[in-house]
């Protein structure tokens, strides 16, 4: 069986950053990704990032993907594409499926950076064609140039809902309105303000009552909710449209971590079940690290930092500590703390601190 010092599963912002950091420390990791090209979900993000210069502020997500891929190409890291990690056997043996081949690979250290998947919510008709994840629509219009609808309802006024609404308009799709069940807009107000200027109503304390249509979405009923999230029947109204986008959160893709025997912890602030991990992204299983959304839903900026952190920590496990490894780890930890100190990092900070309290609980 083939054996590797360090395998990284997932070539999004976290996995790419991990591979680059490990390479800087003299390790040549094997990065595997199930897509035909690396970059993960950065490739569909046409908006410019916020934050500091070291975190690519002012650069569009899709251009950050190119920068990271260029760095990877110049590094000793190796890349397998169209390669899906489908299982993990005892002794850190990864099962990897490629279109015409099946590999088994023993990895002394593994960083999992598999990301997350989009959530749905319950309402009659939520399975109709025309009810799509917001990220799904983003992929079709921004990567493949196809419009999956003409008039859309966006459900969720967090950053994804707001940003994708604006991108829908850029793609020539009408956004009927953005609704959110919470009484406040969850995303950055700069994104909400852009929509308001374009005349798109952002309705808080609103939810979907039902979607209707014979074989695909022909319309939707929305209504206000009270403080207990109960639908106020007299506020129901029908909108005629052909698509509903759900931007109602993400769930970490943790199947392989469960197979690895990682201790899982349910932390609502992090999006559900996540692997317990320490400040260096090491899970409860020796040699198994995590980085990015699967270790707790945050954003691409934090995924890149966690990737650098996990990449350097795994490289230390392979090669031993060095001044350079300490520098990368300390810098990434400091940058993460800085992002999570802001008002929009509060939720993740709270979630990650719950993992800390779990240490003593065991």
């Amino acid at each position: 069986m083939r054996s590797e010092e360090l395998a990284i599963v997932g070539g999004g912002p976290a996995g790419l950053s991990a591979a680059i950091a490990a390479s800087e420390l003299g390790v040549s990791p094997l990065l595997i990704d199930d897509n035909p090209a690396p970059g993960g979900q950065l490739v569909k993000q046409t908006h410019k990032f916020f934050g500091s210069r070291s975190l690519y502020c002012g650069t569009r997500g899709m251009d950050i993907a190119k920068l990271l891929c260029d760095q990877l190409a110049r590094s000793p890291a190796r890349l397998w594409l169209n390669a899906t990690a489908v299982g993990l056997y005892p002794g850190r043996v990864l099962a990897i499926a490629q279109p015409e081949r099946f590999h088994k690979l023993k990895a002394n250290h593994i960083i999992f950076a598999t990301g997350a998947t989009e959530n749905s919510i319950a309402f009659p008709g939520n399975d109709l064609p025309g009810v799509y994840g917001a990220g799904a629509v983003q992929t079709l219009m921004n990567v493949y140039g196809v419009r999956p609808g003409q008039r859309v309802l966006m459900v969720g006024a967090g950053n994804i809902g707001l940003i994708v609404s604006y991108q829908l308009i850029q793609a020539g799709i009408e956004v009927a309105c953005v609704i959110d069940v919470l009484p406040r807009i969850g995303g950055y107000h700069v994104h909400a303000a852009k929509l308001s200027r374009l005349g798109v109503p952002v309705l808080t304390s609103h939810t979907v009552v039902e979607a209707f249509g014979a074989e695909s979405v022909e319309g939707v009923v929305i209504a206000r909710v009270d403080r207990d999230f109960k639908i106020l029947s007299r506020t129901k109204r029908r909108l005629t449209l052909d698509a509903i986008c759900l931007a109602v959160g993400l769930t970490p893709l943790t199947e392989l971590l469960v197979q690895a025997g990682c201790r899982m912890v349910y932390v609502p602030e992090l999006g559900g079940n996540v692997a317990w991990h320490d400040e260096r992204m090491l899970t409860s299983v020796p040699g198994v690290f995590v980085a990015g959304d699967l270790s707790g839903i945050e954003e691409a900026s934090t995924a890149m930092l966690e990737g650098r952190l996990a990449g350097a920590a795994a490289a230390e496990a392979v090669r031993g500590r060095s001044p350079e490894s300490c520098r990368i780890i300390e810098q990434a930890q400091a940058d993460l703390a800085c992002i999570r100190r802001g008002p929009f990092g509060e939720k993740a900070a709270c979630g990650k601190s719950k993992l800390g309290s779990c240490v003593s609980a065991v």
Binding site: T117, A136, Y144, G145, E215
Partner: protein, 115 residues
């Protein structure tokens, strides 16, 4: 439950984005493929789902028990909502499967069948 049939109307307005303030879409060669018994056009190596959406096809699959119509949901190969029969192979995630000339794409009913 009776078996359902679904309509198919080509979109009135093109679903392909011609002009975009930020993005440009590099041209790809056009290929012909089959959806059910119809001949449709798509772009080589785009996901089959993108080609179907561009042709106004919304129903990709019919559920086994309730015969509910389904389409894609996540479009990144994670959720299995878009499973179709491609060249006689069931359970193909068409949201990530590249389109090739001459492909035969069929709506999957339930778990589909091998042939």
């Amino acid at each position: 439950m009776r078996k359902r049939t679904f309509s198919h109307r080509p979109p009135a307005i093109s679903r392909r984005i011609a002009a975009h303030p930020i993005l440009s879409f590099p041209p790809r060669p056009e290929v012909e493929f089959f959806f059910e018994s119809r001949k449709l056009k798509g772009l080589a190596d785009e996901p089959i789902a993108a080609a179907l959406v561009a042709n106004g096809v919304k129903v990709f699959r019919v559920t086994e028990k309730m015969h509910r119509p389904r389409s894609f949901f996540c479009a990144v190969g994670k959720c299995s909502s878009c499973l179709m029969e491609v060249d006689g192979r069931p359970n193909v995630m068409v949201c990530v499967e590249p389109l090739k000339a001459g492909m035969k794409v069929k709506r999957q009913v339930g778990r589909g069948s091998l042939r």
